[in-house]
Symmetry: C2
Subunit: 231 residues, 2 copies
């Protein structure tokens, strides 16, 4: 069946994101350096983030709340409020961070948008993701924007249903094997994995062992060629 | 033109919400009672909330971050981390709070769902609103759920376009004159105002001076009668 619809993840697929979390985490452990070892702090922060996911969801506000909670726990309540104010500033800086599209993204979307229906599928803060899309200058290329609270197989089933397309006519492209590729394959879509140079520990997953609808590419610029090859 | 589609706000229209914010705010000023006067604190909190809206958006996580920021500012950095931990607990309790539908809501939706397309239109945290809808038991009545970052006239234009209906065939029902009624009227929909007993200061607005598409009702149970009267 011909592919008519291309669903694209946003963070770390269209623009840099994890690198900003990474940098912020570095600044965070420096802020708290009097209170313990950096690796230990990062491990505790990750635990708190994962514990909070089912209540807070994804995104910068959740991450900021988890940074504050971790700082209080790690210091057994001794962290001064002035450091917590600086953690709030770290979160704010992330929300205001310039959006930097990855190499080849703008050109590739420009090439694809006339022949395919392009749909952005992303999780995270609703308002922040909308603002990032606006700041990225990529918004006009998309036929639809889907900001979702979780990416599982049912999410992808709902997305193709809402777009009125068949799963086997849709390819999902993203940097996360766990959120973008595996659940899309499970829902009957095609899945293309384009790794980003940093992956959040919570998003790690093994590639599918044997799927004819799976491909791994190096950059988004290879997508038009892949679509041509499929015919 | 016949009304075919009913759009409904969620917080304080389908279920209690502002009362929970109100109660939390009360607990917040008690937590901080050694640092100042309650009314002054509430006024400062509101200022911080409104300042943060364009960056954080609506919802409990935003409110929690604003409560922390206000506590640090009000105390000039003297608030102990243990109180900030209690503020985090207040936010968590809000997110986990049972969802209590307002009187008449379940029965009215049950009556309307066979004759009309029902669409929930709400702002706030994506994940929290989805969880509240699931916990409310009202989810099955809705044809579509639209969680949006802001409610202005363009939001309502997009909602009716996505649903494939005409604005003049759609009525928006909600407790906020500012977010539910006025922008819906501006977009060409009908608007019904059903006040809740508490309104967040930021949502106050005057009713429209003269609109044939506006109505004010006391409870949602009056909606089927209003629709019949229109014929």
């Amino acid at each position: 069946m011909t592919i008519t619809t291309i669903a694209l993840d946003a963070d770390d697929t269209l623009w840099h994101n994890e690198s900003i979390f990474h940098l912020t985490q570095q600044q965070y452990v420096e802020l708290l350096q009097d209170y313990g070892d950096a690796d230990h702090m990062k491990a505790r922060l990750l635990e708190v983030e994962i514990k909070n996911l089912s209540l807070y969801g994804y995104g910068v506000k959740s991450f900021t709340l988890s940074m504050i909670e971790t700082a209080i726990n790690l210091t057994r309540g001794a962290v001064p409020a002035k450091i917590i104010a600086q953690i709030l500033d770290l979160g704010r800086a992330m929300l205001e961070h310039p959006v930097e599209p990855l190499p080849g993204v703008a050109e590739t979307l420009e090439t694809l948008k006339d022949g395919y229906k392009l749909v952005m599928v992303t999780k995270g803060d609703l308002m922040n993701q909308e603002q990032k899309l606006a700041r990225s200058g990529l918004g006009e290329h998309f036929h639809a924007i889907e900001i979702v609270s979780e990416k599982d197989a049912n999410t992808y089933r709902r997305v193709v249903a809402r777009q009125g397309v068949r799963p086997e006519a849709t390819v999902m492209i993203g940097n996360s094997m766990k959120s973008d590729v595996l659940p899309a394959l499970e829902a009957g879509l095609w899945g293309i994995h384009i790794p980003y140079h940093i992956t959040w520990a919570h998003e790690h997953a093994e590639p599918p062992s044997d799927s004819p609808r799976f491909a791994k590419l190096e950059t988004i610029a290879e997508v038009p060629g892949w679509l041509r090859q499929r015919g």
